[in-house]
Symmetry: C2
Subunit: 386 residues, 2 copies
DNA sequence: TGATCTTTGTGTATCGTTACACACATGCCG
DNA sequence: CGGCATGTGTGTAACGATACACAAAGATCA
């Protein structure tokens, strides 16, 4: 059979010998061509061609030089997320653009959620890391810190020694929360996973000490109390992004005079429209159907819109909906959302990790803005406010 | 200022010293833990922790071991294409899935279209390559072949020594072409770039020797001849995918008794709906407006559908349209298209490059199928056939 | 014309690890 | 109790390249 037979690479010594020059001359021919006369260079190239020498061995080179020419990317999710999740993809597009500009390769470290993820990180031959949102307790973060390489974390967690880039999720969530919760009586949040267990649930916000659950009008005290018993405490979420957005939504509802324990919280296990459809169905079913749903992502919001349509709810008449990220599908769907450029953020992370930004720019809270669209336009509500 | 100071990595010798064992014992502790007693192992780990030793230096390890634990991916396009082009993204999702399964990292080689792309390839520290469609004359292909590493090319070009995975584009194009061209009088093809120059044009198919351009009814002979003078010769396209699809569309039109020189060919410079909109406008303007457009990608087809709608053309009444790939947007749009699983193909490429498939599976023409939808449903044509 | 600079080629030491072969102790068998 | 397998630790010699310092030969200039 015609196996590729992994033919042995020619080495520099052999090329040097064939070209009648020293090894260093060959080395310079590849690494610093201007250091070699055009004449010799040609002779070396010719010999290399003849021997099928493919250029300096990358491993040997990086051992000696102390750098690899590659930027590592670590996801808090399974590796395929890099290409399956639209947000991650746009972020990585920004990273890739900067890498290409600097001639750097981009290495995606194979994260699968297993214990060996840590080894994968320490084995990665890279010059720096960019981390896409992971949980506070993810051991991968420690492994990255241990390498001593420059590293940037996007979205969290924050860590001494690692740079950090994100929007102010809490402030943004409050802004969009006030928009979507305005005039609502039964608000809900459609949330990303709280922690690495990624358990999908539907419950209420946890009652905060000193407040009386169900105090606001129209909420069944028992149901509320029951929900609160196992309710969602924002601070317990180990994904920083999730935590901050929950806090922001809680702030928004509080500004409207509401209790967190009145807010229904549906937590998805992955960021997918399909799962959102199912969760939205729960939120929109029964006598206590929600009339305002703040989703943490546009995909989730779009799934919600589909379910609302299927169940015959008018948006924003019967229920208001908001998303997050202002993806391409948001505008056509008339979805109110928080716009942030993940591509720009990816680019910024890459620049920091490659040491192309001054140290003052190491950490950054980047821009976002609220995009108001039809899905929260209260004036179009069918039912008048009470 | 608090520069990260690139603190020097501790080395294995230091750990060995601190733990009171030999260097090899430390090496085994990381590389083959079962070779070391639990006791010693703990001692070594402890010493490593104390010294902040992050594990074996990846460069040194790969130099010595002769493998890197990384699969290289090379795109015929700019690196960002990996995350910007939906087809490429799905393909890479398949590649990534297999990599993750094997604990292999995925390195995207930074292609920018410049002359240094070749260097980027030879500098890449990888164990094998997967190549996403590139042109026959792309020097990157030779560079990959020169490395002697296992390599798989998806979509072309074919090369001795490199594996090859693709659908039979010509046959598929013929199938969808017959569907979209059925009953048409002024067919058109909306094509991917022909070669690495990526020049956008609108012209006709080249007249083939021995045939009389404009012989078929209803075509202005002069116009046709003029078009043919600088017409598109499928065989001149250096992107294999483009070439084979052009040939297939030509076959389809020939089966309907038509001449290639009657077929209008619009070539886009990139695979984008926006550019397709503009090109489609050209195809649908004037007295010779096309009545059948076979696009090489769903994005192009969707752009075409939008333009058709804007210009008041009924689909399929006034013009039929077909796409390629059966992307998520194709079904809702009622687009007739060629379905192929790029994700599966990516997975297959990765398996081959990682040496996980038997040599008989090295080259593969994979499955495709024609998906008929409303955009070519001739029975709904408003104008009757002549 | 001698001093100095630039250009170009050359040894040597070293980057940090792992394959390999070997040494020694222990356990197990007949 | 000899013989043999098994488990565990240790030196040595690469793996293939580049940083560095030095040398020789023109080029430049007062």
């Amino acid at each position: 059979m015609s196996e590729t037979a992994a033919r042995r690479r020619a080495t520099m010594v052999e090329v040097a010998h064939a070209a009648g020059v020293s090894v260093m001359t060959v080395s310079y021919t590849y690494g610093r061509p201007e250091r070699v006369s055009a004449d010799t260079r040609a002779r070396v190239r010719e010999a290399a061609e003849r021997l099928g020498y493919p250029g300096p061995h990358p491993g040997a080179r990086s051992l000696r030089r102390g750098r690899t020419g590659t930027l590592g990317v670590v996801l808090g999710e399974h590796l395929t997320y890099a290409f399956d999740d639209p947000q991650a993809t746009r972020f990585l597009s920004g990273v890739a653009g900067v890498c290409a500009d600097h001639g750097m390769a981009l290495t995606l470290v194979p994260i699968t959620g297993g214990p060996s993820d840590v080894d994968r990180v320490t084995e990665a031959a890279v010059d720096g890391f960019v981390v896409w949102t992971t949980a506070d307790d993810d051991p991968v973060i420690d492994a990255i810190a241990a390498t001593g390489l420059p590293a940037v974390v996007h979205g969290g967690p924050r860590r001494d020694g690692l740079s950090f880039v994100a929007v102010d999720d809490r402030a943004a969530a409050e802004a969009v929360g006030r928009e979507v919760f305005a005039g609502a009586r039964r608000p809900a949040v459609l949330s990303f996973p709280l922690d690495r267990d990624r358990i999908s649930t539907v419950t209420f916000g946890a009652a905060t000490a000193g407040t009386v659950p169900g105090a606001a009008s129209g909420i069944d005290p028992d149901a509320t109390t029951a929900g609160a018993a196992s309710g969602i405490d924002p601070d317990a979420a180990t994904f920083r992004v999730t935590r901050r957005r929950l806090l922001g939504f809680r702030d928004a509802w509080a500004k409207a005079g509401g209790e967190w324990s009145q807010v229904r919280v549906a937590v998805c296990s992955i960021n997918s429209a399909r799962e959102a459809e199912a969760l939205a169905a729960e939120l929109l079913t029964g006598p206590d159907a929600c009339d305002a749903i703040a989703a943490m992502g546009d995909e989730l919001a779009l799934g919600t819109l589909r379910t609302a349509a299927r169940l015959g709810f008018a948006v924003p008449g019967d229920v208001t909906v908001s998303g997050w990220d202002d993806t391409d599908a948001a505008a056509p769907a008339g979805l109110t959302t928080v716009a942030q450029s993940l591509r720009d953020q990816g680019a910024r992370c890459a620049r920091i990790a490659l040491g192309r930004l001054t140290s003052t720019d190491r950490d950054a809270e980047v821009a976002w803005n609220l995009v108001r669209r039809a899905s929260t336009r209260r004036s179009q509500r069918r039912r008048a406010q009470p």
